[in-house]
Symmetry: C2
Subunit: 348 residues, 2 copies
């Protein structure tokens, strides 16, 4: 029997379908290696990109020269533009806003052939520090309501530049799905004086069937109403609403869990295309005294990372209904991922 599942955080239902391919081997895909003549993200090609905004240079080398380990640059083809003032107005029954924002690229490593799953925990922690640094900087710009950090791996849209990178987009309003999560958390707290995500984590630790890894600092689990096969959520066990408050030590611990999750997915799904997203609370100063504006009151939210392998095809039904169909129950996904050996590249 298929099953519908409701997630109190997303406030949404997922249809867990029955009798269709659901195991890792049902999803194996061929990944094409895109070869580029001269990759602009490679060490030594710094002049082929816009000037860097941030870099981690352990050797103390100069900006826009080789020697960096992580490098952040503006996106050459930004979805939103950094120049101008916000212009927010009605157009009859509709509303429009001009597309003020920032769009940056975080180059995760100088080596063209290393994916995020190949990075050491120390190297991955430096990528997370770059996220933190750029978010803190952009939070000072009063035009932005939200800073969005995400990564596409092996997905057509991202394959233009195969060199491992993440992206950051600053947007002039809180994204709809984040707003829903903030609202769920806020309502739950108003009623129960407890954080919803803390409650979910507590239930997951008791149930255990959906937990992939729990090292006492971070938990990685397959969400109850997962929209996608082998979807994962990574969250700190200790309540925190804002990723940018993480210490270096916490980022190192996060890098450990994140790297482990990516390697487990790679091991059983053979380098699956995936997206991951950092879900964070908007900064407090954006509340600006307006009760309807989300700001980072510590009780409002619990930051986390969501990883979604792209194994199924979203077509008419999902697009038009808002229901997602998922053939792999999260309990099965978690079992496969627990048994995966993260040290083996492709498991049989």
């Amino acid at each position: 029997m298929s099953e519908l599942r409701w997630d109190p955080l997303k406030n949404n239902w997922t249809i867990m379908t029955k009798g269709r391919g659901r195991r890792p081997q049902d999803f194996l895909q061929k990944r094409e290696q895109v070869k580029m003549a001269a990759c602009p993200f490679c060490n030594g090609n710094e002049t082929k990109t816009p000037p860097e905004i941030y870099a981690y240079r352990p050797d103390g080398s100069r900006a826009n020269q080789p020697g960096w380990q992580v490098r952040v640059i503006p996106n050459k083809f930004p979805a939103l533009g950094i120049e101008g003032e916000l212009d927010n107005r009605a157009e009859g029954l509709y509303d429009r806003m001009n597309g003020i924002g920032a769009h940056e690229v975080i180059i995760e490593h100088p080596d063209h052939d290393k994916s995020m799953a190949d990075l050491t925990t120390d190297e991955l922690a430096e990528v997370l520090k770059a996220y933190r640094a750029r978010m803190l900087d952009l939070h000072r710009d009063g035009r932005f309501r939200y800073i969005f950090v995400f990564k596409n791996f092996g997905i057509e849209a991202a394959a233009n530049v195969p060199h491992s990178h993440s992206q950051l987009i600053a947007v002039p309003l809180v994204p709809p799905l984040i707003a829903t999560e903030l609202e769920s958390c806020r309502e739950h707290f108003a009623r129960k004086e407890r954080c919803l995500i803390c409650d979910l984590i507590r239930q997951e630790r008791e149930t255990k069937t959906r937990v992939v890894r729990d090292d006492g600092n971070f938990i990685s689990y397959a969400p109850y109403a997962s929209k996608f096969p082998f979807e994962l959520m990574i969250a700190p066990l200790q309540h925190s609403h804002d990723f940018t408050l993480c210490t270096d030590q916490q980022l190192l611990l996060l890098a450990d869990t994140l790297g482990d999750s990516l390697r487990r997915l790679r091991s059983i799904l053979r380098d699956p295309p995936y997206s991951f997203i950092l879900h964070n609370a908007p900064p407090l100063h954006l509340r600006r005294g307006r009760p309807d504006y989300w700001g980072s009151l510590p009780v409002d939210y619990h930051w986390h990372i969501e990883i979604a392998p792209k194994l199924t095809n979203v077509a008419g039904f999902e697009w038009g209904s808002g229901f997602q169909m998922n053939p792999t129950p999260p309990e099965e996904a978690a079992e496969f991922l627990r048994q995966a050996d993260p040290t083996v590249r492709y498991q049989d």
Copy 2:
């Protein structure tokens, strides 16, 4: 400058991106013809499918024999199962419901090589009559809250059987996106005593820039906050909440506009993959005296069809934020589609 646009029906924002490919020729894709040894949907292969539920047989031929023009069968691999009683319960903080529903396939024409855009207006009207007949029948089953009719064309998920077909899924709750639209319409009416979609159509007819076709009965236009390039909305000009109330004559007029829209898309985008969805009000008897249950009060809704060509790739940002990025402003899409010649298969 990019632009953010808000749609009062979807209650959602779309980012209209600038400086990226946006014209029809930027989206042309290679479509692979899938050849099948023996297509179960073809005339003469009726025994290869489950027994038919409905058929239009102009020659009066017997069920499950050749001679049909439209044929409806149960999906062999249903996403939801027809047997059993609803079981709706909590699981700690979560909720689950067993997957009771129906999943049917509407075979639109006996000829394997005809796509929906190839059908005559009369033939297409018979497909719409099959939708209506199946919806009316399933509305009598008290376990279902909503009947969802959609079509995937040229999309991986649907390409298992290339023979032209639509699908119908009955679900035990109102799909999230439909619920949002119903809520938008209901709130608008409560405040203004007018149908929101009637208001939107009135504004579109005045603005004109987004209208593709308006024959006095049905309007086809590119929505203001289109999530996808060349997205189209088709709606009756005269207010009606429920598609199943359409007369044969109205379905003939709808077939005329729907066929025209599909042929215009084909002409300039060369058989693009697309999905279309029928958005309808849930039937009145499902309200069951509960004020929080959507039922088809005539003021609550205005049925319509949404067509979304699948030209862009939904990746991390869209999936994780709920923002869609669309490079083609609907005013430009409508201009291309107005100029398209629907009688020419592939326009240059």
